[in-house]
Symmetry: C2
Subunit: 453 residues, 2 copies
């Protein structure tokens, strides 16, 4: 099965492009125009002559050039006939965004579709799917206008999502927070291409460094396990499972028409296959950010430094809850820092610099932690509400991180002033978090991922 | 003990106002000037003649007028003498922001301070504290410049915080998200006024509707229990405890010099006293927002409506985990909605309107839920990435909420377009959340609070 054309096709037919700007086919067509897709684009609609200077063909069979990918956005009843034509035209890769099949109980139509796919050996994503967004090739079948859902910049996270709405809103949110993405795939009813195929493909995709996954049910458990086991050795897979309770599983059944299965079975499979399990959507992106930006730690011992005592305590509490080991500073480090810091500062873990901390004091400590072989990961809590922390704290943190010696994570909560600093740090490759608890939870998964490799 | 002057003093002396704009005393002085405090303000500093057209007095004893509140920002060693002068001047209420006492092991100085307080029967907040911010009177001893920490608008949440840094950064963050506050108190070493005194005072404060609490250790367990028990009947108290693990408790000891005590004892006391326990800072504000904005529900049965299937499933999963009961729509409601909605929509809970939902469909369903006596709380998940949801969804939600019949909560995740809608809804009294899990957790506490009253 070759999925590459879903992401790198050089010629694409969009089937069902309406003149109505609110209609799905129209929105998809606009995605390619506005997004800057550089391949050849063909419009199919037997009822119009042309649209925005594009000639409209009655059928793909009327196009002379060869086509590498078709995106189908016609009413459900017409989909089998359209696919039959794609088969005859030798279009192998097809994204079907149309809904109205298994998910609404229309098994007759679903089976008819299956038959055409089998007959022509087509490779199909969908139906009932948003389809594909590729930040590099600009292939974009997401029928959500760009003013509603901002398209992400090029990045290294790829997100495979059974639910289109979960996927698109999360990508929208993450984009507004500055994240980049490689690929986003909403695969809907998985009549043909399923999550395992996509995971395997992304495992070999050079642009993808992290795979995020939202699934309600997998089609083939053994295949899923094998794909994850193979890929998770190469890059982290973070998964959230929808329908983990009985009530949730029932809701999943009516959503994508698939039986969600026992949560315990899934969680066991995740563990076996090296998949990092996120409990919530928020956790998933917290983990992805850390795994994207941080280098591999040598071990799991965490050193916390803070200028807010309470935040240090909350970080230590969370570490104890999550089983994250706290570092014990080496004797030389303690001796050195005691000389350089005020005698009222307790050189321990957390190291609380208190409200009158300066960027210079942070630098002194961070330098020492970087040298201390008892420290593997640095959690730097820096609250910039106090006037003594100048903007040069950014330089201190970025310079330390640029050494690429140990993972460095920053926690900072606040309003506008804080946000400016955080964006700056993120742009320089440092993962930042608002709350110490979230940062520590993510550290746990960073450490575990590399530990089990 | 009368705490009122801490929040409503008509004449205030700031002791230790430096000319250096980075020094604590100077920042506090500027807070009153820039914040628009309307009472009389006196500056104390024996080393300068005047500052910004304010005459500088060598000591409070040199002021002829009576003073209702003193804010002390002199080096720790000088604090006992300054307090002695305050006592002689009959200034009863004193905020000490200076640090360098118990928390750094200086028990000698701490005891000296205690003696003066006892001798003159002073009422003291601090030392080692940010002190007080009152959004109404503009009393503001927070030595954090306004460009670093935005001051909140007038609101109904009051936040009592042992850790100044936790408190100020969280207030800064919450303010940037549009929250208002009534009072914020960081009480530091609690040499005199403690958390229990403050809780009791806020219980009687008309401006305060919700009390948030960050504590590492309480001074007097029985007093705390009694204060909370009494106040929680009148208004919700939401508390987060720092130092719940052994490692965290050890860190707390060096932070505020107080023994954090067993977490279980605290959690048991919270429960007994009707205090809502938050596990994380984020949870605390999620709960506060819901309790601030939502009316009292008649019962605990939750109805979920969504245009993103996956979000509905995650909400139902979280409800099952949290023990939130899902509503079972009445027969009449189901019959009515089946007539009005497309036959492919499963009229259940969650009610998934799917990707082609319109604002009109939401209105139809919400109207029906409002009438159905089997529904107590409405969770409306609305993802606005799809073009069919117009901005009139805001009118639909605000109109439904304005009926004041049932609590209505909105979940919406996304970028800029989503944020504009969310801010609009929040301004109209509807609590909004990015993730379904957070909203459901907050619903649980809304229901529980009113259930146990």
């Amino acid at each position: 099965m070759t999925l590459d054309k879903f992401f790198n096709a050089n010629s694409i037919a969009i089937i069902g492009v309406s003149r109505d700007p609110n209609k799905v086919g129209h929105v998809i067509f606009r995605n390619f125009i506005d997004g800057g897709y550089s391949g050849r684009l063909f419009v199919i609609n037997p009822n119009i002559e042309s649209i925005l200077n594009y000639h409209s063909y009655p059928s793909v069979l009327d196009i002379e050039e060869s086509i590498e990918l078709a995106i189908v956005a016609v009413p459900a009843e017409l989909v089998p006939r359209v696919l039959e034509e794609c088969g005859r035209k030798k279009i192998h890769n097809i994204i079907i965004v149309s809904a109205g099949f298994k998910e609404v109980g229309n098994m007759r139509l679903q089976r008819k579709l299956e038959a055409v796919i089998k007959k022509h050996k087509l490779s199909v994503i969908g139906p009932n799917a948003l389809g594909v967004f590729d930040a590099y090739s600009k292939i974009d079948s997401l029928f959500l206008p760009r003013y509603r859902m901002t398209r992400p910049k090029e990045g290294v996270i790829s997100f495979v999502c059974q639910s289109g709405a979960v996927g698109s809103s999360i990508v929208d949110l993450a984009t507004s927070e500055g994240h980049g993405f490689a690929k986003f795939i909403s695969y809907g009813n998985d009549i043909d291409v399923d999550e395992s195929d996509l995971i395997e493909y992304l495992g070999n995709d050079e642009k993808t460094k992290i795979i995020c996954l939202y699934i309600e049910a997998v089609k083939n458990g053994r295949k899923f396990l094998e794909a994850c086991r193979k890929v998770s050795r190469k890059k982290p897979i973070i998964a959230i499972k929808g329908g983990v309770t009985e009530a949730g599983a029932k809701a999943a059944l009516s959503h994508t028409g698939s039986l969600a299965g026992s949560a315990d079975v899934y969680f066991g499979a995740f563990k076996q296959a090296g998949v990092i399990r996120a409990e919530t959507l928020e956790d998933m992106f917290d983990y992805a950010k850390m795994l994207e930006k941080c280098i591999k730690p040598k071990g799991g011992r965490l050193q916390v430094i803070t200028n807010g005592g309470g935040y240090g305590i909350l970080a230590v509490d969370e570490a104890a809850k999550d089983g994250v080991e706290m570092a014990q500073l080496g004797r030389e480090t303690v001796k050195g820092l005691r000389k350089q810091l005020s005698p009222i500062i307790n050189v321990g873990n957390p190291l609380d610099l208190a409200g009158d901390a300066t960027s210079g004091m942070y630098k002194t400590c961070i330098d020492a932690f970087m040298k201390d072989k008892n420290v593997d990961v640095l959690l730097v809590i820096v609250l910039v509400q106090t006037p003594l922390i100048a903007t040069d704290i950014i330089d201190v943190l970025v310079e330390a991180n640029d050494l690429k010696k140990k993972p460095l994570v920053v926690v900072s909560a606040g309003g506008e002033f804080t946000e400016v600093m955080r964006k700056n740090l993120e742009a320089n490759g440092i993962p930042t978090y608002t709350f110490p608890e979230d940062a520590v939870k993510a550290v746990k998964h960073l450490v575990e991922y590399y530990n089990t490799l």
